[in-house]
Symmetry: C2
Subunit: 236 residues, 2 copies
């Protein structure tokens, strides 16, 4: 897997783990990663319909004790320029379809690609992590709106499945398991998929991908049995 | 809710319930409903990537003991005519995005609407049930392909969520529950959603909607608390 060595990415399964505050478990790495006291936050995924202001305030509250000032992208009249001027970018979770549709409608997709290719640090959680892959074809979200394309930001030559869940051996439910869904994805699409369990994240830097957190991640490649990736540098 | 009195629909949450063979639990109602020994089966949702022939054979195997002959829509050179000639139509489950994209690409959406409006019995399971609603915006499936629209067949003036799952009070998972997802849907979309648990189905006939099976269904209306619908005639 060749990754553009300019990319600095933190691709996070979830903003919040059980029994812990919003961003708390990842905060130390997050702050070290962005190397800036200014953060541009993209609130467009709107989890549970929270307002853009409310979602931005939640991020500001979580990072205030580290002296980081958070501005929401929606606050800017000229959003393209806000992205051009950003020292670090964070796209939060929520609904991936809504997030991507909004970015396309505001014509911000290309600007995000340009800035991240210049080495501006990018953090994504959940829906924001889906966007780092080739497409949103492995999101878990409901298609509550119709985006003009499923093409994502495409920093990574594979897809992300955040909040990855192992099949429950005791389940009597007949809806597809996550693994079955990803195997159906591979009936149609060639790119690998990394299932990131809650508490895991990828740190991409200088062309390397490091799996962080204490858990393994699950790698799905079309035509192969899934495999577990150990924390540390990954190569596939 | 006004329903076209010509419509004859069986809107089934799942083809298979735990501990039971494909279609077994619903077979008696299915056979009485279609009132025909000929069935046109639409296999395009391709669960787990099964072939069209394989999926059609599975339906034929399940219904052979009732003397029903099953033909797959893919077997016909002129698929529009096959729909026009059908005595009863069954659209099976799998991936809703793949199903709808295929129907649009083959230009069969309008023909299905025309035939069902003439009173041809229509059975849908899972993805095939999603299609009876206004849009596929409440599917549980992964968006493995990009359809030209999320508009479904629109027989019903609401949306279906098949395989409806109640939140697990013991879960530590931070991905959205089904209820949260549907509430996010209602941030954007006005139509009600009926969550059909596995083992439930709607029987639509003469403009009435009857909830069948032993379970209640969950009704979501934008701006209201969800409510439980008891088996029997429903009105909302």
């Amino acid at each position: 897997m060749k990754i553009n060595p300019a990319y600095k990415l933190l691709v996070v399964s979830t903003s919040t783990i059980h029994g812990s505050e919003f961003l708390a478990y990842i905060k130390q790495d997050f702050v070290e990663f962005i190397q800036s006291d200014e953060l541009l936050f993209v609130p467009f995924a709107r989890p549970s319909g929270i307002s853009f202001d409310g979602y931005t305030a939640k991020v500001q509250d979580a990072l205030r004790d580290r002296g980081i000032t958070v501005r929401g992208l929606h606050e800017f009249h000229n959003m393209k320029k806000a992205i051009q001027d950003a020292k670090a970018i964070f796209i939060g979770g929520g609904n991936t379809f809504l997030l991507l549709k909004t970015l396309y409608e505001l014509d911000l997709v290309q600007q995000l690609r340009v800035q991240v290719a210049k080495g501006i640090p990018y953090v994504g959680t959940s829906a924001g992590s889906n966007l780092t892959g080739l497409t949103i074809g492995t999101t878990n979200d409901m298609p509550i709106v119709y985006p003009p394309s499923f093409d994502a930001l495409g920093f990574l030559p594979f897809n992300i499945n955040p909040h990855y869940l192992d099949p429950d051996p005791n389940s009597t439910h007949k809806g597809e398991t996550r693994e079955t869904r990803i195997q159906e994805f591979h009936q149609i699409n060639p790119q690998p998929v990394i299932g990131l369990r809650e508490g895991s994240w990828l740190h991409v830097n200088e062309g390397n991908i490091e799996l962080k957190g204490n858990l393994t991640a699950r790698l799905f490649k079309a035509g192969f049995e899934p495999e577990e990736l150990a924390p540390g540098l990954i190569n596939f």
